[in-house]
């Protein structure tokens, strides 16, 4: 079979890329059909968060000072400025879970329908990669949706300032891929009946300890926590977006952010692909 291996490289690429495009098309078709639930899913969390913490609470008796985070936004702009990058990070992360982990857990456990796509003329790793990339697209959309919400809802205007569009794009793309890879890792490593538990055991902790609702630099008085959260990939998502969008609130060094986002993306992609192969091959 040396012939196929030797001469077939470009033929293979054609076969593979067509199959890959086919998978993307299928996912797009399904997403387009479920666009309303999709929008509700990605909008609800940032919408309510912004509404309660940046609109309702500042209007309560005692005014803005009652908000526990009042004054945290060092450069002014209120809590909304702290929340904007954090909520985008949550939106990105949650999309990865909802777009990959939940459907995969179901497909592996109950319906086995993933078998159909695994039988594509495409290496299994590429089928897994398609999942990550399609999830990343949803993450970018979810992150973008936070912008208008953060613009219209808070009573104190959010102070966003993009100094480098290149850096912002890099952070959003890396964070989105990371979220997809995280979803793949969770979806392939958890038994379907335990998927509900994942919210309590993984998602809630990494969100609350992910520098979503406070900047990492503000943890400086709780040193152990400031060091401890560094194993949490969500930290680099929120801090990256903070550095790109609201640098006035303070953030960790940009190089470190990009390096760690890349590190976690590679690590989780590797783990996710291994898990995927293990689940579809026996």
């Amino acid at each position: 079979m040396g012939e196929v291996v030797g001469r077939g490289e470009d033929v293979r690429l054609v076969i593979y890329s067509r199959a890959f495009i086919g998978l993307m098309e299928r996912d797009l078709r399904v997403l387009r059909r479920e666009i309303a639930p999709f929008v509700i899913r990605i909008a609800m969390n940032p919408l309510l968060f912004l509404f309660v913490f940046t609109y309702v609470m500042p209007h309560m008796s005692g005014g803005a000072s009652m908000s526990p985070m009042a004054g945290m936004a060092g450069g002014g702009g209120g809590f909304g400025t702290v929340l904007l990058p954090g909520l985008m990070a949550v939106a990105i992360m949650f999309s990865g879970i909802a777009a990959v982990a939940l459907p995969l857990a179901q497909e592996f456990g109950i319906t086995r329908e993933i078998d159909d796509r695994v039988m594509c003329p495409l290496p299994i790793a590429a089928v897994a990669m398609e999942k990550i990339i399609f999830s990343a697209i949803q993450s970018v959309l979810a992150a973008a949706l936070v912008f208008p919400l953060a613009y219209y809802i808070p009573s104190t205007p959010v102070l966003a300032h993009v100094t480098s569009w290149w850096f912002l794009s890099a952070v959003v793309v890396l964070a989105s891929l990371l979220a997809g890879a995280l979803g793949l890792t969770i979806g392939t490593s958890v038994q379907p009946k335990q998927i509900g538990l994942i919210f309590g055991v993984v998602i809630v902790p990494i969100t609350f300890l992910g520098c979503v609702y406070y900047p990492w630099t503000a943890l400086t008085h709780i040193r152990w926590l400031q060091i401890g959260v560094l194993v949490n990939p969500i930290v680099y998502m929120s801090e990256g977006l903070r550095a790109a969008l609201t640098p006035s609130t303070g953030h960790m060094p940009e190089v470190m952010i990009l390096a760690m986002l890349t590190f976690f993306t590679v690590l989780l992609t590797w783990a996710g692909m291994r898990g995927f192969a293990r689940r579809v091959l026996s």
Partner: protein
């Protein structure tokens, strides 16, 4: 598309479309299980080939390996000349597969299930649309195109799975227990569909534990038990190997002089063999006028209690090979 087909089919050594050599699969673990224990199989193109055996015989594992879903412990499988372990993604182009369970894409309609399958296998949108329409027609699914798989009956879902599996013109279609869970009518419809596929030149490899299905449908059969092939031939030849086309099972009152009875029966013209079975004797014979009467007359002298006549079936073949009933 042409160069790809040429590439895959270009240097075929033999006529075998499925070539399995020394296949073994051991599931490691606390109680390691040898599911496939040295299977060699050579399926020629254009046949309906059956793997017949009881549940747990290793049929599904063999199919899983051949369809790139399981990694063999040893041995090799080539589909249309392509090694499925070395080049799984390429091998899949020659493979259509319908597993035991329903793997229809529940997020897509009946038509989309076939359409996207065509797209995965590199067809243009126009080609995929045309192929989808043709298959929906062929498999009588045209009035359900916009339905979702959850709304289909077992028989319809099965038809859709087969239609989807052959949408990319595979050389071999693997059907794993295709009639499991089908009502008799759907089963007949499925058999007809499979025969049509053979007419189109698709080789079909199916597993089953229904003798009737193997007998009615398959051109050749391998009988599998405990991960090994016991025998491989056409259904007719397998049945002929029993040694007669009539089987008379004689139940006797006690076992008086069964040796003498055996000898007397053996010399009747047309009798090809006499065997001792529990409670009596089994006479194998070629169908002949008057033979039955002779057998009964002689057996009566020795205290015949009851007699059943049957024709050899694959069941008989399996029992003779393993001493067990296929359904056990």
């Amino acid at each position: 598309m042409a160069p790809i087909i040429k590439l895959l089919g270009g240097r075929r050594v033999s006529e075998a479309i499925v070539e399995i050599v020394g296949l073994r699969k051991v599931y490691a673990g606390k109680n390691s299980v040898t599911a496939v224990d040295g299977i060699d199989l050579h399926v020629e193109a254009g046949l309906i080939y059956g793997l017949l055996g009881p549940n747990g015989a290793g049929k599904t594992t063999t199919i899983s390996i051949a369809t790139t879903r399981a990694i063999p412990t040893a041995g090799s499988v080539k589909i249309a000349g392509v090694d499925v372990v070395a080049h799984p993604a390429l091998a899949r182009r020659s493979i259509g597969v319908v597993p035991q369970y329903n793997t229809l894409d529940r997020s897509c309609t009946v038509a989309e299930n076939i359409h996207f399958h065509c797209r995965y296998f590199g067809m243009s949108n126009v080609e995929a649309t045309a192929r989808t329409a043709q298959l929906l027609e062929q498999f009588r699914l045209s009035d359900r195109t916009q339905a979702y798989p959850q709304a289909l009956s077992g028989g319809l879902a099965q038809r859709l799975q087969i239609a989807r599996a052959i949408a990319h013109y595979p050389k071999v279609l693997f059907l794993d227990e295709p009639s499991a869970g089908l009502d008799p009518q759907s089963r007949i419809a499925m058999w007809e569909a499979v025969q049509v596929l053979r007419g189109e030149g698709i080789t079909v490899v199916l597993t089953t534990h229904y003798m009737e299905e193997a007998d009615a449908l398959c051109d050749r059969l391998a009988i599998i038990d405990h991960g090994r092939i016991l025998v491989e031939d056409t259904p007719a030849a397998l049945k002929a190997s029993v040694g007669g086309d009539q089987i008379y099972d004689l139940r006797m009152h006690g076992v008086r002089d069964s040796g003498l009875l055996e000898r007397r029966l053996q010399v009747i013209e047309g009798v090809t063999g006499v065997e001792v079975i529990e409670g009596g004797l089994r006479v194998l014979a070629r169908a002949q006028d008057g033979l039955l009467a002779k057998v009964v007359t002689i057996a009566n002298e020795f205290g015949l209690r009851d007699m059943t006549t049957t024709e050899p079936s694959l069941e008989t073949v399996f029992i003779r090979l393993t001493g067990r009933d296929l359904r056990e």
